[in-house]
Amino acid sequence: MRTIKRMIAVMCCLILTAGTVTAFADDGFSTSYTYGYDYWEDYQESPDAYRVRTIVDTSSLGLANLDNQSFRKPQSLFVDGKDLYVCDTGNNRIIQLRVNNKNQFKVTRIITTVTADATNYELAETYYSKAEEYEAAINARVAAEEKLAELTGTESENSEKETPAETEQTETPAEETPAEEAEQPREEVGEGATAENSQPQEEKTASNEEIDAATLALEEAKEKEEQIHQEAIEAEERLKASGCNIWQYEAWHRDENGNVVSQLDAPYDVAVDSLGNIFIADTNNCRIVKMDKDCNLIWEYTKPLDATFDQSQNFLPKKIVVDVAERVYGLCQNINKGLVKFEEDGTFSGFIGANEVSVSMTDYIWKRYFQTKEQRAQTANFVPTEYENIYIDEDGFIYATTTVFSEGDLKWDKAKPIRRLNSLGKDILIKNDHYPPIGDLNWVSGSEATGPSKFVDITVLNDGMYVALDRIRGRLFGYDSQGVMLWAFGTKGNVDGAFNGAISIEHMGHDLLVLDQLKNNITVFEPTEYGSTIYSAIETYQKGEYDESAVLWQDVLKLNTNYTLAFRGIGQAVMRQNKFSEAMEWFKMAHDRESYGRAFKLYRKEWVEKNIWWIILVVAALLIIPLVIGRSKKMKWEVIMHEHSKVRK
């Protein structure tokens, strides 16, 4: 009976899928463009969830007429309402686009420079010129000392004054590296003692007048240094007291109109907060710029001078996100401690969300007990890896993707290519499907693409749905808030809807925008009927309108008979109508054990209540019949025994 049912179901499926193929043939894509995975991790063809609406590129925007510069290696997108910001990194600019009612993108402005308040700049200028003068004075003093030493024949010595002077210098956000700083005191210790001894002995080697002149020059240099030092300290104090926001002084200059401007240099990412302030990861200028909507500087975030930040590394912010409290999180190149976090007032407050280092037991035992010290020193330490990209959702959770993991860890949910970080940096992504969100579940490694999906960017839609972009095969993977794959599509190639160097993804409502850094364009996808039905079904379900949602899921099933989420959604709705056995069927098709169990429990209860008399009857029969048989046998036996006893008597 069941097999017949099953066969009928299969037949229905076949007929329905045949129908959908014809229904979606006019979409302009082969049906293998969109796909999904079934319970057995088998590839399942699906109708298209998205179609290409437009391609936004240099010519469609008319950039040639504006300033004759086409896109060059754009790196990032940011959507703020109807505004789209594109980081045209190769051209050192950010292009702001706006979508109009006809769904066309128009350039509203091109950001290339940041302007700052002139008074701030002057403060910074006097301070930095003082700092330069101070440096020159130090150099002059050192030269004078060297000359004197040459004349007297002693080794070059450093006066005691240099140590405090140098440390003073490094307090300023200049590009002094700690390595230089560290060398200074060491020389001091070694030579301070020897110099004092050797000076009086070898003084006679040069003529006295020359020595006198040199000593005088040294005195003068020292005096001048002292004076400038005082001035520099005063300037710095004034700078701090004034609330100056220029910290990366080298990046600023006055233009021909006398305005203080700073040219962006390879901006890799842009973000806009709720107040309209624009944040730019100005990577080659080693800073994150915070400016108001008219491009006036509000703050410059520069390299943290904190000891936790590796001072030998440059501060190269690649990706930034801003939360509702105006805190800035930056993903920096060569920094593997997690995201750099700046408070609202611009102070560095540490790292969050470091990739935890996973050490396997075998690895540990091998390293600890079987390797020599030299071997241990040579093998790499267990270092965490960097993230690839970050995105902040409506609730302030940061979604991070990582592309460094071993293939074997993927399906065991150890690799975690997509993470949702809470404020403590812990991954709290919900994974309720039987496989974690890892993109492709199985793959054929060919010449063009090898290995698993590598997510280069992620965007979070409303209702917690998220879409991750795979750079290996140019694919987009949509997941719902429970981590169940909604659809996957995309490919590599040159036609519309295919990518060569997909680098960034954003969304506007349910439309998806994908930036290609090699094709230098933005592909705008809009959901097809199939895609938007899925979305509205999920939305109505989350609103609690289960019956409406079931109707929508039925529509989805008409387009794709193998859609697990639809089975589950209808099952939930049917179960709410107290049709338990029907709900069980749906859940079974969805391979949802927990929900099936719940439906089955209710079904069992109902069944027992309905058949309680039969059950009692059967149980009674099972108990009574053997009892009766046993009794009768026993009686027979007793009778026989009685006869025997009679005989014996």
Binding site: R593, Y596, R604
Partner: protein, 236 residues
């Protein structure tokens, strides 16, 4: 005493009809007695296994029955257990493959055990080992077949009850294997344990030898095939 033997006997022209019928009847009663005896074996393994061999209370026919029942149980379990507990990829399952993948290791392990214990004064013959191993499978059959039914009456949350009984059946079987080998070979528990491990290695060696044998056979065949082709080519 096996089915095959009795079948071959029955093929012969009947000399004495009543004698043949009587023999068959005797065989049948012995067969059923040995089937029933398995219940004694699994509940009293020390006595049971000793008598199974030394008092000749077991039959190979019963052992074969248990092995076949075990394989059938296995397949039934995959196909009929509620999907809440076992998700078998039904579309990929090949019943005979599934059975073979259990029966073949079983036979190889018996063979390896026999090969190893014969060298170290084990008393059991191959027939005895095979019989004891098959009798040790009985708890698996007895528990798992009802559990298939029970699984369809349980919900996912009540699954612990199901899994506890399943693991109980397996533990029972392992215990029976251990005791059975101990009694057959007249070993102490320590020696039995060591020989259980040695048996696994022996099985690995057997598999290795089989693989080598077949690959060499393949090479030899391909050599002669190419030789033949060469000759044909030259003759033409």
């Amino acid at each position: 005493m096996s089915i095959a033997k009795s079948a071959s006997k029955s093929m012969k022209p009947a000399r004495n009809l009543s004698a043949r019928a009587e023999k068959r009847k005797a065989w049948r009663s012995r067969y059923f007695a040995s089937l029933k005896y398995s219940l004694y074996v699994i509940t009293h393994p020390f006595d049971g296994f000793w008598d199974l061999i030394h008092e000749k209370r077991g039959t190979i026919a019963a052992a074969n029955t248990f092995l076949i029942l075990f394989l059938i149980t296995r397949v039934l379990k995959l196909l009929l257990t509620s999907f809440q507990f076992i998700m078998a990829p039904v579309q990929y399952i090949n019943i005979f493959e599934e059975m073979g993948s259990l029966a073949l290791p079983f036979i190889i392990l018996c063979l390896a055990n026999w090969a190893m214990t014969t060298l170290f004064d084990g008393k059991g013959r191959f027939k005895d080992i095979y019989m004891a191993m098959c009798y040790a499978l009985v708890p698996y059959i007895l528990i798992q077949i009802p559990m298939i039914l029970v699984s369809n009456m349980l919900t996912y949350e009540e699954g612990s009850f199901y899994s506890v009984l399943l693991s109980f059946s397996v533990i029972w079987c392992v215990f029976l294997v251990f005791v059975g080998l101990m009694q057959i070979h007249d070993y102490g528990p320590g020696k039995t344990f060591i020989f259980l491990i040695v048996t696994v290695f022996g099985a690995a060696v057997i598999i290795f030898l089989l693989l080598v044998f077949f690959s060499l056979l393949q090479d030899a065949l391909s050599y002669f095939l190419s030789l033949y082709r060469e000759i044909v080519f030259r003759l033409n």
